[in-house]
C-alpha cells in the first residue's frame, strides 16, 4: 500500500502540470486578451453591434472625427475631412488595417479584461481615442491631390507624432459606396511601395560617403548620356560639370549613376540595408510595407540605374519620411505614431556626421534651387523624384524632405501616382502639407 501511494505521487505531478497550464492560459489572457478580442472575425464587434456604442475619435485639436449617437456611428460633417481621414479613422468594416476603428476597435467599443464585451451598452466604459493628426490639414491635402492616387505623410521627427497622413483613393465612410474604388482599402502612405526614382539619390549619396569617397571635392560631368556596363544611362539635360550639391539639386542621372558605380554594388546594398530600405518599421501599431533593393542579379548597368532609383528599387512613403526625419535628427530616426499616448521607439540609421553632410546637400537643393518661398519661409531640405513606371504610364511624382526649424521639426513624403514631373505635381501638395502642419504647431507664414 505504501509503495503504491508513494508512486501515485505522479498523479500530483500531473495535477501540478495542469494547474501550471491554467496559469499559462491566465497569463496569456492578461497579456494578449485585447489582441484576441480585437480580431476581425469577432462577431461581438460586427457592424451595428460593435461601433453603435463605441467611443469618439478626436484629432489633435479636439475635432470629432467619429462618434456614436443613438446607436448610430457618425463621422465628421465635412466631406473632405471624412475622405482624408478614412485610412486613420476607418469605417464600419475591418477592411482598412491602419484605421483605429480596426486596430483599436476593442478599446473603442469598451473591451476590458474583466468584463470582456459582457457589459450592456449602457454600462460600458467607452474608450475614446485621440489622434495626433490635424484633420483640417489632411482635408486640404486631400483636396490638393485633386483625384490623383497617392499618399502624403508629415510627422514630427522629434516626438514621432504624425500630423498629416492622407491616402488616395478614398471613399466616404458615412455613405459607403457600393463600388469601392480599387486600392481604397490600402493606406498607401504605410502599406504601399513605389518606385522611388530620383529620391533614391539620397541613399546613393550616403552610400558614396560611406564608401570613403571625398564627396566635397568630387566633380561630375554630364553630357546627356553615358555608357555604363555596355548600356546607356540617360539624363534629362546636358548638365556639364558640377559638384555633388549641384548634381543633387539638378538631379543629374549621369552623376548618380557614376556615384553608384564608384560606391560599388557591395556598398550600395549594404548602405541600403543599414538605412532600412528593406526593413519594415512600426507606424503606431502597424508595420510599413517592406521596400526592395536587391543587386544580387544586377550587372554594371543595373547598378548604375539603381543609383538613380530606377532599377528594381521600391520604397514606401512612410519609410521615406522616416529616412528624412533621421537626416534632420542627426541620424536618429524617431518612429511615427498617430494615436495620442502611444510612444514610438528610435533607431539610428546613420552617423551624426553623415546626417549633417546630407542635410547640407538637401538644404542646398531648396535654398539655391527651389527657393525658400516655396515653403513659406520654413527651413526645408528636400528632394524631388520622377519615377518612370513604364507601360505607357506617366511617371510617379515624389517629393520628400524635412524642415530644421527647432519649433517645426517636420519630415514629409509625398507621392502622386502618374503625377508627371515631381516638382510640379508633388511639390504643391508638399507645400500645403508642410505649411499646414507647421501652422498647426504655431507657425505663422
Amino acid at each position: 500500500m505504501k509503495r503504491t501511494m508513494s508512486r501515485s505521487f505522479i498523479s500530483l505531478i500531473l495535477a501540478a502540470a495542469f494547474l501550471l497550464g491554467l496559469g499559462l492560459l491566465c497569463l496569456r489572457y492578461v497579456k494578449d486578451g485585447d489582441m484576441w478580442a480585437n480580431q476581425t472575425y469577432n462577431q461581438h464587434l460586427a457592424f451595428g453591434k460593435g461601433l453603435s456604442g463605441a467611443g469618439k475619435i478626436y484629432d489633435r485639436n479636439g475635432t470629432i472625427l467619429a462618434q456614436s449617437v443613438d446607436s448610430q456611428r457618425y463621422y465628421n460633417e465635412d466631406y473632405y475631412t471624412r475622405l482624408a481621414t478614412l485610412h486613420t479613422v476607418g469605417d464600419g468594416s475591418y477592411n482598412i488595417a491602419t484605421a483605429v476603428q480596426t486596430a483599436r476597435r476593442a478599446q473603442l467599443v469598451g473591451h476590458n479584461g474583466i468584463f470582456g464585451y459582457g457589459l450592456p451598452e449602457s454600462l460600458r466604459p467607452k474608450g475614446d481615442v485621440s489622434l495626433t493628426l490635424d484633420a483640417d490639414v489632411c482635408a486640404e491635402v486631400y483636396e490638393e491631390f485633386a483625384g490623383k492616387k497617392g499618399a502624403c505623410m508629415v510627422y514630427n521627427y522629434k516626438t514621432g507624432e504624425v500630423l498629416c497622413m492622407v491616402s488616395t483613393p478614398s471613399y466616404d465612410p458615412q455613405n459607403v459606396p457600393e463600388e469601392i474604388p480599387e486600392g481604397a482599402y490600402l493606406n498607401n502612405a504605410v502599406s504601399s511601395t513605389y518606385s522611388p526614382g530620383s529620391i533614391y539619390k539620397i541613399i546613393t549619396t550616403i552610400a558614396l560617403m560611406e564608401s570613403g569617397a571625398d564627396i566635397e571635392n568630387m566633380t561630375f560631368t554630364c553630357e546627356g548620356e553615358r555608357d555604363f556596363g555596355g548600356d546607356t544611362v540617360t539624363c534629362l539635360e546636358e548638365h556639364g560639370e558640377m559638384d555633388i550639391y549641384q548634381a543633387f539639386a539638378w538631379s543629374c542621372n549621369i552623376a548618380f549613376a557614376e556615384a553608384a558605380t564608384t560606391a560599388g554594388a557591395e556598398n550600395m546594398q549594404r548602405v541600403s540595408e543599414s538605412l532600412g530600405v528593406t526593413k519594415s518599421y512600426l507606424v503606431g501599431s502597424v508595420r510599413t510595407a517592406q521596400g526592395h533593393f536587391d543587386l544580387s542579379d544586377a550587372n554594371d548597368n543595373d547598378l548604375a540605374w539603381s543609383g538613380v532609383g530606377q532599377y528594381t528599387n521600391m520604397v514606401s512613403p512612410a519609410y521615406m519620411a522616416i529616412l528624412c526625419g533621421a537626416v534632420a535628427n542627426s541620424g536618429e530616426a524617431r518612429l511615427p505614431h498617430y494615436v495620442q499616448g502611444e510612444r514610438s521607439g528610435t533607431t539610428r540609421l546613420m552617423s551624426e556626421e553623415t546626417a549633417e553632410k546630407m542635410q547640407d546637400i538637401m538644404r542646398y537643393t531648396v535654398s539655391d534651387y527651389y527657393g525658400d518661398t516655396m515653403f513659406g519661409g520654413l527651413t526645408v531640405g528636400a528632394k524631388t523624384g520622377t519615377a518612370e513606371v513604364g507601360e505607357g504610364k506617366e511617371p510617379n511624382a515624389w517629393m520628400v524632405g524635412y524642415s530644421t526649424d527647432a519649433e517645426y521639426p517636420l519630415a514629409f513624403a509625398v507621392v502622386v501616382e502618374e503625377g508627371g514631373y515631381g516638382f510640379y505635381s508633388a511639390g504643391p501638395i508638399a507645400r500645403t502639407a508642410m505649411i499646414g502642419c507647421a501652422q498647426s504647431l504655431g507657425f505663422e507664414g
Partner: protein, 560 residues
C-alpha cells in the same frame, strides 16, 4: 432609467453566478476534507523479537525487508517483499508472495491466502509477529494533510449542497430567459430535469444503496447541469440526451460501486472485461464511419455510440489489482498486451486524442504498479517515434501540429477553431456575456471540443477555471483518500481514473486554447455526448470506491 436598472441586474446576476460557483465548489471540497475517517489502527502486529508494536493501518499491507513495505521487518532472513497481510469481509488473511524462507502461521507453513485470527503467531524468517487488536496500540497517529480539519459533522449537509447547486442552475436558466424569450419553456424543462436528476440520484445513493457522503456526486451534478443548460439554446435535443445519459451514467455508477465492492471478484472478471472491450473496439473498427477525421463511433438503431469511451472504464479495471495479485508477473503482462491493443485500435480509428489518453494512463498505471521508470521512459520514446510516423502518413494530423501555437496567424483555415476560442474567451471576460449570447456555440463541434470556450464566453473565465480546478481537485482527493483504501485496487484505480479525466480535460482545455495541439476530445461531465457522460460517471465510481466509508455505512448504520 429602467433599461439601466435591468442592465445592472443582468450584470449583477453574472457576477453572482461566478461567486456562487466558487462557494459551491469550496463547500464541496471543504466538506470532503472534514470527513471523519477511520484513523485508529485496524489491528496491531506485535514483534516479540524486538518487543515492538506495529500498527496496521491499511486493508492491504506488504510485509518485508524492503524500505517501501508497509511493515518493514529488519531481519536479514526476511525477503525484500515477503508476504501480504490483507483484510476482507471474512476477516484477516496472510498470503506469502514467493518469499525465500516461507511464512508460517502457528508453526505451520502456509501457501496462498490463509486466514489469521487474533493472537495467531505469524513467523517470517526468524521474526515472529503476533496479531493483536487495534485498540491495544497506544502510539501516536498522524493525520493526512487533506483531512486535517476533521470534524464530526460535514460543514454543509448533502441536501443543502444539492439545493445550492439547484440554485446555481436556476440562475443559469434565468439568464437564458433574459437573452432568449422563446427558450423560456425549454430552459425550465431542462432545469426541472436537472433538479429531478440530482434528488433522485441522492435518494438512491443515500437511501437505497446507503452510501455515505454526496460531495463527489454533487460536483458531478454541478458540471452536468451547467453543460446541459448551456446546450438549451444550442440544441435542445442534445440537452435532453445529456440529462438522460447522466441518469443512465448515475445508475451505472451505483451499480458499479456494488460490483467492485469485493476487490477479489474483479480478478475473476478481468479476462472477460478485456475480451468484451476488445470486441467493442473490433466492432468499432469494422463498422465505424469516418467523421471529422476519426472513425470512433458506431450507430446502433440510430443512436451514436463511442465504444472507446466505455473501454476507458474497462481499462482502469484491468490496470488496477489487489496487492497480492499486483505482485504477479502474468497480471502485469496481460495489462501491457491489453494496453497495446487498445492504443493500436484507437490509432487505427484515427482517434489520436483518445489514444493519447489511454497511453498516458498506461504510463501512469505501470509506474504505480512497478515503480519502473525505465520502462516508462522507453515507452514514451516508442510513442514519440509512433507520433512521427503518424505525422508522416496522416497529413490531417500534421496540419493540426503545424498550426499549434500559431492559431491566430491562420484564423480562417487551420487555426479556425482555436483562434475562435481565444477571441471569444477574451470577449467573455471574467463573467461572460450571458448564457445563450455567445458566438462560439455556432462553430462546428463546439459543444464537445470547444466547450471550455463556450463556458468562458457565456458564463465567464472564473467559472470555467473553477470547473477545471474541480477535475484537478479530484486527483488530489483521490490520492488523499487512497491512503486508507480497502485495497490497492481502489487506490490505484482512483488515482488513475482521476488522472485519466484530468489528462482528457488537459487535452480539451489546452487543445482549444492553442496551448497544446487540438485533438478533439471531450471535457468530462460537460461536453455534449452520451458515451462521454457514461464514462465520466464510470470513472467517478472508482474514486468513490477508494473511500473506505463508501462500503461501511451499509453495515454500521448512520453515524452522525
Amino acid at each position: 432609467m429602467t433599461q439601466f436598472m435591468v442592465d445592472v441586474a443582468v450584470v449583477g446576476l453574472r457576477i453572482l453566478l461566478a461567486v456562487y460557483a466558487l462557494i459551491i465548489i469550496y463547500q464541496c471540497f471543504a466538506s470532503m476534507r472534514r470527513q471523519k475517517r477511520q484513523e485508529a489502527p485496524l489491528v496491531m502486529l506485535y514483534n516479540s523479537t524486538i518487543r515492538k508494536k506495529i500498527p496496521v493501518l491499511c486493508w492491504e499491507n506488504l510485509i518485508g525487508r524492503g524500505k517501501g513495505c508497509d511493515i518493514v521487518i529488519e531481519d536479514p532472513t526476511v525477503s525484500r517483499s515477503h508476504c501480504v497481510l490483507l483484510r476482507r469481509k471474512e476477516g484477516w488473511f496472510i498470503n506469502d508472495i514467493g518469499s525465500k524462507s516461507g511464512t508460517r502461521v502457528n508453526g505451520r507453513p502456509v501457501h496462498g491466502r490463509h486466514r489469521v485470527t487474533i493472537d495467531d503467531e505469524i513467523k517470517i524468517g526468524s521474526t515472529t509477529l503476533t496479531l493483536r487488536r487495534g485498540e491495544e496500540y497506544d502510539g501516536e497517529m498522524r493525520h493526512h494533510w487533506f483531512f486535517s480539519r476533521v470534524s464530526s459533522k460535514p460543514s454543509v449537509s448533502a441536501p443543502a449542497l444539492i439545493f445550492l447547486t439547484n440554485l446555481f442552475h436556476l440562475f443559469m436558466a434565468v439568464e437564458i430567459c433574459i437573452s432568449y424569450e422563446k427558450f423560456v419553456l425549454e430552459a425550465f424543462e431542462i432545469l426541472g430535469a436537472v433538479v429531478l436528476f440530482s434528488w433522485v440520484f441522492y435518494l438512491f445513493s443515500a437511501g437505497v444503496f446507503r452510501r455515505s457522503n454526496f460531495e463527489l456526486e454533487t460536483l458531478a451534478v454541478l458540471l452536468v447541469g451547467a453543460g446541459s443548460i448551456l446546450l438549451v439554446s444550442q440544441d435542445i435535443m442534445d440537452a435532453w440526451i445529456q440529462i438522460i445519459a447522466a441518469m443512465i451514467g448515475a445508475a451505472g455508477y451505483l451499480i458499479m460501486l456494488k460490483f467492485i465492492e469485493n476487490p477479489d471478484r474483479i480478478v475473476n472478471w478481468r479476462m472477460a472485461i478485456m475480451i468484451i472491450s476488445l470486441v467493442f473496439l473490433g466492432i468499432n473498427l469494422a463498422f465505424g464511419r469516418m467523421e471529422f477525421g476519426a472513425a470512433n463511433r458506431i450507430y446502433i438503431g440510430g443512436v451514436s455510440v463511442q465504444p472507446s469511451e466505455i473501454v476507458k472504464v474497462a481499462y482502469i479495471f484491468v490496470g488496477a489489482s489487489a496487492l497480492d495479485h499486483l505482485q504477479t508477473k502474468r497480471n502485469f503482462l496481460e495489462f501491457v498486451v491489453f494496453s497495446a491493443l487498445c492504443v493500436g485500435a484507437l490509432a487505427l480509428m484515427g482517434d489520436f486524442g483518445t489514444a493519447l489518453i489511454f497511453f498516458m494512463s498506461f504510463i501512469m498505471i505501470s509506474i504505480i504498479r512497478s515503480g519502473d521508470y525505465k520502462t516508462s521512459v522507453l515507452a514514451l520514446a516508442g510513442a514519440a517515434f509512433a507520433v512521427v510516423i503518424i505525422l508522416k502518413f496522416k497529413p490531417y494530423i500534421a496540419q493540426r501540429f503545424a498550426v499549434w501555437g500559431h492559431a491566430l496567424e491562420d484564423p480562417y483555415n487551420a487555426g479556425y477553431q482555436q483562434s475562435g476560442v481565444l477571441t471569444y474567451i477574451a470577449s467573455g471576460g471574467l463573467f461572460g456575456v450571458g448564457v445563450g449570447n455567445g458566438i462560439l456555440r455556432y462553430y462546428g463541434a463546439s459543444e464537445t471540443d470547444l466547450v471550455f470556450g463556450i463556458i468562458t464566453e457565456e458564463i465567464g473565465l472564473i467559472i470555467a477555471l473553477a470547473f477545471a480546478v474541480v477535475l484537478c481537485g479530484l486527483v488530489v482527493y483521490s490520492r488523499a483518500i487512497g491512503t486508507r483504501s480497502r485495497s490497492t485496487f481502489y487506490s490505484i484505480s482512483a488515482s488513475c481514473a482521476a488522472s485519466m479525466m484530468l489528462v482528457q480535460a488537459s487535452l480539451n482545455i489546452f487543445g482549444c486554447t492553442d496551448i497544446l495541439p487540438l485533438t478533439g476530445v471531450t471535457l468530462p461531465f460537460i461536453s455534449a455526448g452520451g458515451s462521454s457522460m457514461l464514462s465520466s460517471f464510470g470513472l467517478l465510481a472508482f474514486i468513490k470506491a477508494a473511500d473506505e466509508r463508501t462500503y461501511n455505512r451499509s453495515k454500521r448504520l448512520p453515524q452522525r
